[in-house]
């Protein structure tokens, strides 16, 4: 509004901001192709004595993965599996809460809602103890259950709204045609709620993919370690032993995610908007 009549100024400012936001990525990508000796010497481009831009850093990173592939695999498994479980359990519960009258309906929903106010740090110690006691400490199963529990409420809340918004006539028509409760849920309500579901899926996936605190607390071995925790370990090792490999490793930790985002940009933004306006 202030800038409505001077689009050139806002364009310039916006482009500067956008570039500034990208610089950290490009700096790491650029540096990952520099010879190590030039990085350590603080040069801006390869000096005359070296071979110039090189793939040596990547060769070293792939030779000594040090768990990098495991971290990636674990994060992917958790994010995909966790999101699937959250959507399934969450929309089942949302369907029951939205479409059926039964004793405790309101109370159960209220309990779900109240826990939104409780910061996750409160559950950290209890979950740690629970996982130790059940032998699930430092396993993917344990971490997955923790993530499912932590992300359920959002899906239940959003999908309950979606399911409650479906006209009664639609449900009744299906029932008259002889659809069972399960068929009403699976073949009528779920397809109608597809947009809401994809929003929930994106938000849950991002949450699990990015989660740090619980992953740090609940894992000790490479076996169950996720990328956010693993990358900090790799950072610690490479920054001492080989700055070039550090650049290459960090680069490989964000480029795939950034590419996926750029490709699916439309859905991401829609999903995040849906989640953000819930409060």
């Amino acid at each position: 509004m202030t800038v409505g009549k001077r689009p050139i100024i806002s364009y310039t400012l916006l482009i500067v901001i956008a570039i500034a936001g990208i610089v950290p990525f490009t700096w790491v990508i650029y540096g990952s192709f520099m010879p190590r000796s030039d990085i350590d010497a603080g040069r801006l481009w390869p000096s005359d004595g070296t071979d110039g831009f090189t793939l040596a850093n990547y060769r070293l990173t792939f030779d000594k993965l040090q768990g990098f592939d495991l971290y990636y695999r674990n994060s992917l498994l958790l994010a995909v599996g966790g999101t699937f479980l959250v959507l399934l359990a969450g929309s089942l519960a949302a369907f029951a809460l939205a479409r059926y009258r039964f004793l405790g309906n309101r109370l159960i929903f209220l309990i779900f809602l109240l826990t939104i106010m409780v910061p996750a740090e409160v559950t950290l110690m209890g979950q740690f103890d629970l996982l130790l006691a059940t032998g699930l400490y430092s396993t993917l199963t344990g971490l997955c259950l923790s993530y499912v529990a932590g992300n359920l409420v959002l899906t239940i809340f959003l999908m309950r709204n979606v399911f409650a918004g479906i006209p009664n006539d639609v449900i009744d028509a299906a029932a008259i045609d002889g659809a069972s409760r399960w068929q009403v849920f699976w073949q009528v309500c779920m397809p109608i709620g597809a947009n809401g579901l994809s929003a929930c899926a994106i938000l849950t996936f991002l949450n699990i993919w990015n989660e740090f605190t619980f992953a740090l607390t609940m894992t000790v071995t490479d076996k169950a370690m996720t990328l956010p925790v693993g990358i900090t370990l790799l950072q610690g090792q490479w920054s001492v032993t080989h700055s070039g490999a550090l650049f290459a490793t960090v680069m490989m930790s964000f480029v795939p995610m950034a590419l996926v985002f750029v490709l699916l940009q439309k859905y991401f933004v829609r999903g995040l908007t849906a989640g953000a306006v819930k409060g």
Partner: protein, 352 residues
């Protein structure tokens, strides 16, 4: 769904609904309700996980201990230090105004979190509003600009921290290389008129290892990492404003500035409350960034509240003090609850 039938009859008919709820309820009960309950009980005991058998009930002692814990910063000694910050200091080398400006504040996890919030929150709330207002007016290329501005948001806290450890490196980080470039350029200019080839010798600071710069550096990284989300929230809010209002204002001869102050800002208020509340809660819970980038250093000046909680519960230098850590967690929960309630109350009062 006949609304007239009694609840009991409806329950009998709809009993499979409980089956539908079961998976979610089970996971939720085990991993959210039960841990909250245990933490509530633990917070009144002196439980240490190293020796759980000897835990005993201590009443409110844990909560009282928070008020005398120097690492938290609400103890009498730190508070006295705070009081002295408001008086003219007797140390001429370190007058209080200098302490305020250089963020040499009395220590403790609470005050580190406050320091972070003061550095982070205003920028994090205001700049995205300006960016969103500009984006809202741009037509061509707006999708591209939005995408680019939003990219840092999808980068996780851990990966973002690692990226910025590289950027802040005193040796090959981008900031200190830029400072070195400026220095060399200045020296070149000086060299034109004098024989002194190295007139300027300044170098950039060790950002994350310097008591003055560590917290601002972390706050700036957090701003970069999360700003796009607030831009998005503001854009959603701006979309809801009826464009006819602006047209009417233009007819009435309102300047762009008046339009922004009289239409945009008031109508954007609900969004602004949401952004402020979410950002505030986020900055009170800040942890990973400090844990990864500085490990709380230098001299514990970047130990946030949650990081202190984590240290108490899980750090090898402490004894897995789950009792005390639970009390710390509940205090945080209470603060967040009060802030949320206040914002709700306040926003409702303003709207009426």
């Amino acid at each position: 769904m006949a609304q007239t039938e009694s609840l009991l009859r409806a329950t009998r008919k709809n009993w499979p609904a409980y089956l539908y709820l079961l998976p979610a309820a089970l996971v939720f009960a085990a991993f959210v309700i039960y841990p909250i309950g245990r933490a509530a009980v633990w917070s009144f005991t002196d439980l240490s996980l190293l020796d759980p058998a000897s835990a005993r009930y201590v009443g409110w002692d844990n909560y009282r201990a928070i008020l005398s814990d120097e690492d938290v910063g609400l103890d009498p000694k730190t508070l006295a230090d705070w009081r002295s910050m408001f008086r003219a200091g007797d140390d001429p080398a370190r007058p209080t105004w200098k302490r305020w400006l250089t963020f040499d504040w009395p220590g403790g996890a609470v005050w580190n979190t406050v320091k972070f919030t003061v550095l982070f929150l205003p920028v994090y709330v205001i700049i995205p509003l300006i960016i969103a207002a500009m984006l809202d007016h741009v037509r061509t290329g707006s999708v591209f600009l939005r995408t680019v501005i939003f990219i840092p948001v999808i980068i996780s806290v851990a990966v973002a921290s690692v990226i910025w450890i590289i950027l802040y490196n005193p040796n090959y980080g981008i900031f200190n290389l830029a400072i070195a470039l400026v220095r060399d350029a200045l020296n070149w200019i000086v060299g034109l008129v004098s024989t002194n080839e190295a007139y300027f010798t300044f170098t950039g600071p060790n950002w994350l290892g310097d008591r003055l710069w560590a917290m601002p550096a972390i706050a700036f990284m957090c701003f970069w990492n999360g700003m796009g989300l607030n831009v998005l929230l503001y854009l959603v809010g701006l979309n809801r404003i009826d464009s006819e209002l602006y047209e009417a204002a233009v007819v009435d001869g309102a300047t762009p500035r008046q339009q922004f102050l009289r239409i945009t800002l008031p109508l954007l208020r609900p969004t602004t409350y949401l952004v402020v509340l979410l950002s505030l809660i986020g900055s009170l819970r800040v942890f990973g960034q400090m844990w990864i980038m500085t490990e709380g250093g230098p001299q514990d000046s970047t130990v946030s509240y949650v990081m202190y909680l984590y240290r108490v519960a899980f750090h090898p230098t402490r004894d897995f003090e789950f009792g005390y850590a639970s009390a710390l967690a509940f205090v945080l929960a209470a603060v967040i609850f009060v802030l949320t309630a206040c914002t709700q109350r306040f926003s409702r009062a303003v709207e009426q």
